[in-house]
Symmetry: C2
Subunit: 233 residues, 2 copies
DNA sequence: GCATGCTATTTTGTATACAATTTTGAGTGT
DNA sequence: ACACTCAAAATTGTATACAAAATAGCATGC
């Protein structure tokens, strides 16, 4: 993940806050105050404010006047919407990438696949290594969007992935069906390397739908479980 | 266009600046300083800064550290990218809208069409009335996206339309082929009202491609003209 | 005349002070 | 025990002061 910490405080705070949110260190739904962050990062409130403004525009926090900011909480419906859009954008980006990928691009994609395999093959891996595998898997989609050559498409897709990423850290760790995702990623990269845009796009769209189903099933189960607990008490 | 001027200065400044940029009052490529805007709106620099932060996130201005902000200048390639994404998103949104539109929604769309026709039928209309027609035409797409029910899709589409809108004010006024757009809009609304998602989506995608071709042709002609001038001198 | 270097101005980056508003909690009366 | 009022605390909204950096213009030397 590109850290991109420019030399202004505002950008550092923005990166730091975004990382904390995306990785779930600040859990969704929690309230965050400017003073807390300013104190924690030992800066004044001004750069913190500006960072919050940008995060709000990114959709990662929502703030109401004089009531502070809340880390955006995604419900099932929002995920459904996000994946619906991802199917469109990711599918198209993958088609474009298949037509535009240079040899260097293809090597880069294959290297990322190999890294995933390596991380997956570690015998008794820690959570840190699981996280790494997940992150590389998501980054693969970012890189494909970058290869597509459509800068705006890349930016929008990154925005959605940022918003969806936190569920990875908080939820998806429970799942262990990652082999499917690895295989699908490999197929997509294969199609891109073969220059088969149509197949690559179809595979990408199916892959997004599959991810969506996994996530939605997981969230649904969690919701049911909460309801069960509430009724039992 | 929803003005949405909340009661904080920051939001007012944001709306005001955005309107000035989108309508081309501040032309693309021009430099804008915080002090100028603060003085013009008689507020301090703080809310202006925050507005700029959000606008930068919207992609309407680009700012480099300690060098001020510049209204984003779109070249042909950016428009090509934007329209490529619009074809995806607008097409999908229109499909969804056709499946989801209530009677009230349909009435709203028809009213917007009627307003376009009314404005187009005015005998010797001023620029102001031409602008209005264009704006309603763009708003139609925003409303369709809203009707789709996918909030995130609606937001993203509005973001792209905002970015593309300024060309309308600066360039498209030269064109006079709006009747085509009006007819296409009418066809799309018809398909939505008939609940024919597939046809609505196909029409919407074709409509976006048509708009793209118009805009790109215009920009290309302008570019050629500039080159001609440069060589002649 | 032209390049170079220095200063003066402009402009943003950051911190802090103050105002306005919302929330919270205690206290009182019923 | 409950509701209501009022005040204090917490929190953001705005303004301003100061620091740092970049730009522009002028003077100087060749």
């Amino acid at each position: 993940m590109a850290k991109e910490t420019k030399n202004t405080l505002r950008d550092s705070v923005y990166s730091a806050l975004k990382a904390m949110i995306v990785t779930g260190q600040i859990p969704p739904g929690s309230r965050v105050t400017e003073n807390d962050i300013a104190a924690k990062l030992t800066v004044s409130r001004t750069p913190v404010r500006e960072a919050f403004n940008r995060l709000e525009r990114d959709g990662l926090v929502t703030g109401r006047p004089r009531q502070g900011y809340v880390v955006t909480e995604f419900d099932i419906n929002m995920f459904r919407e996000a994946f619906e859009i991802r199917e469109l954008l990711d599918g198209h980006a993958t088609e474009l990438a298949a037509a535009a990928a240079t040899e260097a691009d293809k090597a880069r994609l294959r290297a990322m696949l190999a890294e995933c395999e390596r991380l997956a093959a570690i015998p008794e891996r820690t959570n840190r290594e699981k996280f790494q595998e997940l992150e590389v898997g998501i980054d693969l989609h970012r890189v494909i969007a970058e290869i597509s050559g459509n800068v705006m498409l890349h930016g929008m897709l990154c925005g959605i992935l940022d918003k969806c990423q936190h569920y990875v850290w908080t939820e998806l760790l429970w799942l262990d069906e990652w082999k499917i995702a690895r295989d699908e990623h490999a197929e997509i990269v294969d199609a891109i390397c073969a220059g088969d845009a149509s197949r690559a796009g179809t595979l990408a769209r199916a892959h997004v739908r599959g991810s969506r189903d996994n996530v939605l099933r997981l969230l649904q189960a969690k919701s049911d479980y909460r309801n069960f607990l509430a009724k039992a008490s």
